[in-house]
Symmetry: C2
Subunit: 350 residues, 2 copies
């Protein structure tokens, strides 16, 4: 009962908010721009410089080691899988496949989400079975379809065989007697990933530079807000903060060919209410990270936007509206930090 | 008959050369250093700044496109193979596997040689079935165990689907009406690879800076020369200029577990004299590119050096000699050009 009350209160607050926004935002005027900026600020908020974690403070040494480990294939069971394989930085840290292919050609259950801006979300991946980016790294190295190693100990043995890691782990985790552990590997990779924030022109706009978006893009932002995308895609990352049923109004299987139907977060919780529930993906760099949805079943952004309107909002967005939304989404393509665009040299075996 | 005469003349020249070197190189003296430098200059010669080709002049636009294409997975049949997969720059452009694994987990017939300094060799790969780095790229995209595409046309269709390539190919191949071709892809990748020269401390030595190598390293160089490694590993790349039978004195299968026995260049020429003949691999960055030999059958550099002594030179190098040679080989680990260590952003589908 208490839960329902909370939800109703939420709807009331959102409704009042929308009424306020509706009356305070005349279109295509300077004061309209100011109002749009104010509104956008309240919905999205600024990106952090790095995505901090109390449990895993970011240090340059950890970041450097983490970046090296991000490219390390020699700790996978067949020597072909690294973080970068499914999250290549040059492809905006997603791999362009419907579902990633890991060791020995094993297909992963879901599409690889970009690792850019990932550390600022409530969890890593789609269904909440990885609490954060560190946990994601920790689980991936023994994930049967990813690195496929039989145990954390086996990973540690492989790491210790590569001579150069001794010094690198010692520097990143000073004072530890035996720093080469999977926990530290996860912390180092996590620290690197926590630096992968990608500000874009939209952030310049949010900081007050109204000219950072052109008229079409501001119109797109308005449509994005008014159509209701922001019900889930809010906050600095435009998503990533909540779980949501995929297919609120209609089942998504009506529009995509997904086989088998993914039960989403239910797989983790076995709670009936979590059936078809997924973490809301972020819209940062979304124009660069096709294909779309947890199953990668949709290739084109326009199809993804239209389907979302249908199944989440019960709206049949017309071509213009879809185009407007996409015009805005393209403003979210951001700048990858320079340091992340440098290939690290990996330590050799001897 | 003419061929044999040439060979004999070659042996005579080499013999006279060695006699000259023997009498002109007293050890462990300053004049010894000078003599060693002179000798080294005559055997190895300077690295070029880039590895030019008359057929494929290097331009910044071609190099830039080539670097992007080097990371492009979307033109492989399963979307997982790029040049960088088997030649990751961070691992000195070799992949650390015995034999590379390509599309759909297909195993390549031989170990992936580093692409660093590759363009300066007589051919690409091991058995002379790729005339140069451009030919290697051209053949790889349709190679069944590599990219696995059914035809060059199919690659071109995939390239054209990725919108951003239009502009990039136009810039790299100005004046062409339909520049998106596999031939141009090969030229662009080739142009990028022609920039991958990795000078090391040994080059500073060759340029006259005798202090660039320490005493142990100079001793190593002497052992390398005197043991006879230079019979095949000569020139700026320390190899890569000739084909040679692998197992002159003894069959290599006596010391490595290679199954099946690779017939080498015979596969290409069907000439009985080419059985077990391979291109001499280069020693640039050799300490960073384990495992060794065409079949990747040897993990440790010390084992590789000792086996080479046995089967190529009929010498049972002792532990000290092997260590000396390795001390020198480690001086050949070079500097990868800064630009090659930057990850390029790949064009998106829209």
């Amino acid at each position: 009962m208490r839960k329902i009350e909370r939800r109703e209160r939420g709807i009331l607050i959102i409704s009042v908010g929308f009424l306020f926004l509706f009356f305070s935002s005349p279109l295509f005027t300077d004061s309209g721009d100011e109002a749009l900026l104010k509104q956008a600020k309240s919905i999205f908020g600024p990106l952090p410089q790095v995505m901090r974690s109390e449990k895993n403070p970011i240090t340059p040494e950890k970041v450097q080691l983490g970046k090296i480990l991000y490219y390390e294939t020699r700790i996978s069971v067949d020597g072909t899988v690294s973080c970068a394989r499914c999250h290549p930085i040059g492809l905006y840290a997603a791999d362009g496949l419907k579902k990633s292919i890991g060791n020995n050609c094993k297909v992963n259950p879901r599409n690889a989400p970009t690792i850019l801006n990932a550390a600022g979300q409530i969890s890593a991946h789609w269904i909440g079975n990885r609490t954060d980016v560190e946990d994601q790294a920790r689980q991936s190295v023994i994930g049967p379809p990813s690195f496929g190693m039989p145990s954390h100990e086996a990973v540690e043995i492989k790491l210790k065989e590569i001579k150069g890691y001794g010094e690198l782990f010692k520097k990143a985790f000073p004072g530890e007697t035996d720093p080469i552990t999977v926990d530290n590997l996860a912390k180092a990779i996590g620290a690197f990933e926590r630096t992968l924030v990608t500000p874009s022109r939209f952030d310049s706009f949010l900081k007050g530079d109204i000219a950072a978006l052109n008229e079409k893009e501001k119109k797109g932002l308005k449509t994005y807000i008014e159509a209701g995308c922001i019900m889930c895609h809010f906050g600095p990352y435009l998503g990533g903060q909540t779980y949501q049923k995929f297919g609120i109004v209609e089942p998504y299987s009506k529009y995509t060919k997904s086989d088998p139907i993914d039960e989403g977060r239910y797989v983790v919780t076995k709670n009936e209410a979590d059936k078809y529930v997924f973490k809301v993906p972020i819209h940062r760099n979304v124009a660069k990270t096709a294909p779309y949805f947890h199953d990668g079943s949709i290739d084109k952004l326009e199809d993804a936007v239209w389907i979302m309107g249908k199944i989440q909002l019960g709206k049949d967005l017309d071509k213009t509206q879809v185009e407007e939304v996409i015009t805005f989404l393209k403003c979210l393509t951001g700048k990858i930090p320079d340091d992340a665009l440098k290939v690290p040299l990996l330590p050799s075996m001897d």
